[in-house]
Every structure is written in C-alpha cells, then in structure tokens.
C-alpha cells in the first residue's frame, strides 16, 4: 500500500477521534455524549485495523471482540438513557449551559 493511502487512513482515524471528542464535549446531553463516544470507537477501530495489518489474524479477532463489546455497551447505554429520560423527562444532564459558554 502506498504512503498516500496510509496517510488517508491515519488522517481519517485521527479526525474521527477528534470530532468524536468534540461531540462529547459540545453538549450536555447523555445521548449526544454517547454518540460522540461511538464516533471515537469507530476511529479507534479504524486505527486498530491499520496498525494491525502486521498481525492480521490477532487483529481481526481483537476487532471482532471490540465490535461485540461496543454493541453490548450501546444496548446497555440505550436502556440507561431511556430510564433517565423516563424519570427526568429531560435529555440533558445539566439543564442550561451558562451564557458565556454558548
């Protein structure tokens, strides 16, 4: 694989991690934070797949297990979010963002 393609993969993985972090920090909503964490997971999975081409089978199994764990985590988080919304009727952890932070 040429260096150009490796650079594309590296930049994409870094941008997904960075934009996921930006999404987590940009809102006080539980669901939005969860979506940001999932974007970060996608970036790290891409990075694992790129770096792990040296040991392809171990990497493939680690990636498969990571996808399974992420799916379980997402399902569990959905149930927690539904419970939070049913109890508080409010998707945000803190109701208002201070005026200076908007």
């Amino acid at each position: 694989m040429s260096d150009l393609l490796i650079e594309i993969y590296k930049i994409t993985a870094s941008l997904l991690l960075a934009l996921g972090l930006g999404t987590v920090l940009s809102s006080r909503s539980l669901v939005k934070m969860l979506i940001g964490a999932e974007v970060m997971f996608n970036g790290s999975l891409l990075y694992l797949a790129l770096i792990g081409t040296v040991y392809p089978y171990a990497t493939a199994i680690f990636a498969l297990l990571a996808i399974l764990i992420a799916s379980i985590e997402l399902l569990l988080a959905v149930s927690i979010v539904i419970l939070y919304y049913r109890t508080h009727r409010e998707p945000e952890v803190i109701k208002t963002i201070p005026e200076g932070d908007r």
Binding site: L45, I67, L74, L75, L76
Partner: protein, 173 residues
C-alpha cells in the same frame, strides 16, 4: 503495469478517499446537529463508511461484522429507541470552542498515531484474512476470551432489559 492495472489502482484510491471524506463529513456535521435522531442516523453512516474502509484493508469479515452486528443491530435499535422518545433536540456549545478543541485533539491524535507507526518499524499494507483460519484461531487460542465475552453479553442484555423495563416503572404510574 498495464493500463487496466493503473485504472484499478486509481479507482481504489478514489474509492478510499471518497469513503473517508464521507465519514469525516458526517462526523463534522454531527458536532453541531441538535436533533438526536438525525445524529444517530449520522452515526450509522459513519459506521457504514468505516466498515468500507476496513474492507479496503482486507478485513472483509470484520467489515461484515461491523455492518451486521454494530450498524444493523445496535445502531438501528438506538435509532428506533430514540425515535420512540420523540424528536428530542439538545443545546450545543458554540462552533468556535468546539472547533478549537477538535483541532487540538486532531493534532495530538495524529502525532500519536504517527509516532506509534514509526516506532513499529513495519511496512503497513493491505492483508488477506480468511474465515477458516480466523475461526480456527477463535476456537483455539481465543476460546477463553470468546467465552467470557459471550457470558458478559448475555448478562448485559439481561441487565439492559431489567433496567429499561423495571427501573422506570414506578415513576410512570
């Protein structure tokens, strides 16, 4: 290399670049998206793009698992659950602060990834992972891990059902 070979290589370059751009664009739009339902649709789009990029690296089985298990099952359940709660909109911080945070994080992550790649000292490239060898690995060397993850998945699913069904029951009445 023949002309057809050149075309094939450039088409792969073009496809990888397009898929990478789609995932980056969706992640950038997600930062300012106020609707949670549309945000989760964007997450599904990012998952599909990343599975395409993983497939281009040679991990077709992992790409299929990402599409079927992660996007097809988990993210779809997430979208359906959020749609049932209604079109919830949330407040977001200013784009200026978010872009500064994201830029700093991008530079940090890129240098981290670059340093790790240089320290590895190997030539990275596409690979071929066959399902037969992978299943042999999974059922021999990684059997314990597979067992623990399967049991954890079962326990987590039972907990999720319990939390969603029982936890808020008293408050609704």
């Amino acid at each position: 290399m023949s002309l057809l070979g050149d075309i094939s290589v450039w088409s792969i370059y073009f496809s990888v670049t397009m898929v990478a751009l789609i995932s980056i664009l969706l992640a950038a739009l997600l930062v300012k998206e106020r609707s949670l339902v549309y945000g989760s649709f964007m997450l599904a789009g990012i998952g599909i793009s990343v599975s395409g990029l993983i497939a281009f690296l040679g991990y077709q089985i992992i790409a299929a698992a990402q599409l079927i298990v992660y996007v097809g099952a988990s993210v779809m359940l997430f979208i359906v659950s959020l749609s049932m709660l209604g079109n919830i909109k949330v407040k977001t911080m200013s784009i200026y602060k978010t872009s500064i945070i994201s830029t700093i994080a991008f530079v940090a992550f890129y240098f981290l990834i670059d340093t790790v790649e240089k320290e590895l000292g190997y030539e990275l490239g596409p690979t071929i992972v066959t399902s037969r060898t992978m299943s042999e690995f999974l059922t021999s060397e990684f059997l314990t891990q597979l067992f623990f993850i399967s049991v954890s998945a079962l326990l987590a699913l039972i907990s999720a059902i319990y939390i969603a069904k029982k936890g808020g029951a008293g408050k609704d009445e």
